[in-house]
């Protein structure tokens, strides 16, 4: 009853092709946007903004990127951590070299650089697929991290090999560096995520997105009906890396402030983001958000419960935490292999009928 499309007539093609054709969806989206931008920053304290919402939003963006590649185009990648590192290091170099350009264009630029690198490492996907490709993307992971460790030019020859984000301002408010304003940081990241989530939803349902899905479902059949695998796969790698690169740039410049390649962008990052899209739901924009929320909040919650609630020492609780995460992942895959987004879809079906049985 609440969630039904009956009675919502489309009078023109524009309405018919709207991103959210049903009124209720539109209200929910506007509601979420309103809460995100107008309510949350004034309601929550610094800890919530910095420790939970910021990583959640940034990881959502990364998950969105990987979901484009793995969920929509079916190309399994284990190089997300490295591509985030590319974004982080290119935004660092750009911030030092061209601070006059402003932070937002620099983040977009570093996304473009990552897209170029990602396309390069996507080339093997034309020959190989499945797990062979996944292992091949590991080559990107190890090679790029090694490069950022060894070549001094990338970290401006700093003695520790760390990169530190110089302070930059948007409309006069500092958004990077140690003196940054928390609310400003939140607004910046939330804007990026909102804009690019809508963009992803649009791309995915358009011509390019449908080409990706055709390749995912069966690449040979897709080729036979006229989808060019070269273009489809490489655009998927490019767009995906663009998102992941921006996420990496924000991750380094806005959230961490300083980073070191082996610590911040190791292979566990790649797995973490992959877990997010699997648990959230492959091939779903909503799923990327749900998965990121789940995996960002879960460890914090576990730690709080174990250390503060039961007083276990931190080493043991770290072990319990890792076991719990493992068990939850396995349990999740058994109960709902299609992820949280699928649960939402089922709920929607139920809501259409509720409160009547059918």
């Amino acid at each position: 009853m609440i969630y039904r499309e009956t009675g919502q007539f489309k009078a023109n093609y524009q309405d018919d092709q709207a991103l959210f054709p049903i009124d209720q969806d539109r209200y929910v989206i506007f509601g979420i946007l309103f809460i995100t931008f107008a309510v949350v920053p004034y309601l929550l304290n610094q800890y919530w903004l910095n420790a939970i919402l910021l990583p959640f939003l940034i990881y959502s963006l990364a998950a969105l990127g990987l979901n484009i590649l793995t969920g929509y185009c079916g190309q399994l990648s284990l190089g997300t951590g490295a591509f985030m590192a590319v974004g982080a290091f290119s935004v660092y170099k750009l911030m030092v070299a061209f601070p006059e350009l402003g932070f937002i264009p620099l983040v977009l630029l570093s996304g473009l650089i990552t897209a170029a690198v990602g396309t390069l490492f996507g080339l093997p996907s034309l020959r190989i697929k499945g797990f062979y490709l996944a292992v091949a993307t590991l080559a990107a992971q190890f090679f790029l991290i090694w490069l950022f460790n060894k070549v001094g030019w990338f970290f401006n020859y700093s003695a520790s090999g760390m990169i530190n984000a110089p302070p930059m301002t948007i409309f006069g408010v500092i958004v990077t560096g140690p003196e940054a304003n928390d609310v400003a940081k939140y607004y910046l990241v939330a804007t990026f995520v909102a804009v690019f989530a809508l963009a992803a939803k649009n791309i995915a349902r358009g011509r390019i997105g449908r080409n990706w899905m055709a390749i995912r479902d069966m690449d040979i059949a897709a080729e036979l009906i006229g989808v060019r695998p070269l273009i489809a796969k490489l655009t998927a790698f490019a767009v995906s890396s663009f998102y992941v690169g921006m996420a990496g740039a924000l991750y380094f410049a806005v959230w961490l402030g300083s980073a070191e390649p082996t610590e911040a962008f190791d292979i566990n990052q790649s797995f973490l983001v992959l877990f997010m899209i699997i648990i959230g739901g492959l091939g779903s924009v909503l799923g990327s958000f749900l998965g990121a929320a789940f995996l960002v909040i879960l460890p914090i919650m576990l730690k709080n419960i174990l250390v503060d609630g039961f007083g276990t020492d931190s080493a043991l609780s770290a072990h319990i935490e890792i076991i719990t995460v493992g068990v939850l992942i396995i349990g999740f895959l058994i109960v709902e292999p299609h992820g949280l987004a699928r649960l939402w879809r089922i709920a929607k079906e139920k809501l259409r009928l509720w409160p009547f049985p059918y």
Binding site: F131, L138, A221, L333
Partner: protein, 298 residues
């Protein structure tokens, strides 16, 4: 020249160590189509259990080994019972993710049960340089690595006989060939999976012993799984000889590159060189050196 031979030989030996890990991957992939990321952690877990049994309970070596094998078989049964049984017919990527979850669980469990400090594993395996090789050919070779190579050869021979000559081995090959056809002639998939995970567990134990004797039993042992992956794509996911030969190629290539190219680019290229090598091979043979040719139909 002697130096070059030395480098190649030590590469070969290191390659055998990679092969030992890759072997476990291949066995499970063949029998169930699961890309088992937890293989490296299984090796760590097996080595930890072995050391734990010897240190905490004072077991003699042979009893500790038997005990560890029993633990690995129990683990295989548990994995099949709790995890795999419920994931039948899921997509490969889901199964892959599940094994990463499994890797987390095993890692945490091993640490809680046996402690996370570095342990010395001493089974009386000869260590140090081989005097005979040093005297007669002036070549430096680690005894431990020779021992590992011999063990690997025995293991592969044993596996070959097991696969080719026994009833269970035939069933395993049937399952690897076609799940549904195997089911239809009355082979129990569940039993086969338990067996194959047990065998992989035992292979993991052997790998764990070798790596543990070499560099101590510690967390970094689980990372050797990452070293075995390029071996896998080089040799093909489904081929036992591929795992061995792939391991040797990777081992030699890595050592030669580290010694002769490494100094010019800043060293530590071991981490990614194997992947690049494997990638170049893949461009020419997408299914790996010995993998089955993939025939695709629409």
């Amino acid at each position: 020249m002697t130096f070059f031979i030395e480098v190649v030989l030590s590469g070969l030996m290191a390659g055998v160590m990679y092969s030992l890990v890759a072997l476990g991957f291949v066995l499970i992939f063949k029998a169930s189509g699961i890309f088992n990321f937890a293989q490296g952690v299984m090796a760590l877990f097996a080595a930890l259990t072995l050391v734990g049994l010897m240190e905490k309970f004072g077991f003699p070596i042979w009893l500790a080994i038997i005990g560890t094998i029993a633990v690995m078989i129990a683990l295989a049964w548990l994995i099949e019972r709790v995890m795999l049984r419920h994931l039948v017919n899921q997509e490969p990527i889901i199964l892959f993710m599940a094994t990463i979850g499994l890797a987390y669980v095993l890692e945490g469990m091993g640490d809680i049960l046996w402690g996370s400090d570095v342990k010395v594993l001493d089974l009386g395996i000869p260590q140090g340089a081989s005097d005979w090789m040093l005297d007669s050919f002036d070549i430096y070779i680690e005894k431990l690595e020779v021992f590992a190579a011999v063990t690997a050869a025995i293991l592969v021979a044993f596996l070959a006989v097991f696969f080719q000559k026994t009833r269970i081995g035939r069933a395993l090959r049937a399952v690897a060939d076609d799940h549904q056809a195997a089911l239809s002639v009355g082979i129990s998939l569940h039993t086969i999976w338990v067996i194959v995970w047990s065998v992989a567990g035992i292979v993991a134990l052997v790998a764990g012993i070798m790596w543990g004797s070499k560099s101590g039993v510690q967390f970094s042992l689980s990372l050797i799984a990452l070293k075995a992956l390029p071996v896998l794509i080089l040799g093909g996911f489904t081929s036992v000889p591929g795992a061995i030969i792939g391991g040797m190629i990777i081992g030699v290539g890595e050592k030669v590159a580290e010694v002769y190219v490494g100094p010019f680019v800043g060293g530590a290229i071991e981490n990614w060189f194997a992947y690049m090598l494997a990638l170049v091979f893949l461009l020419f043979r997408p299914q790996g050196l010995f993998g089955e040719k993939i025939i695709e139909r629409v």
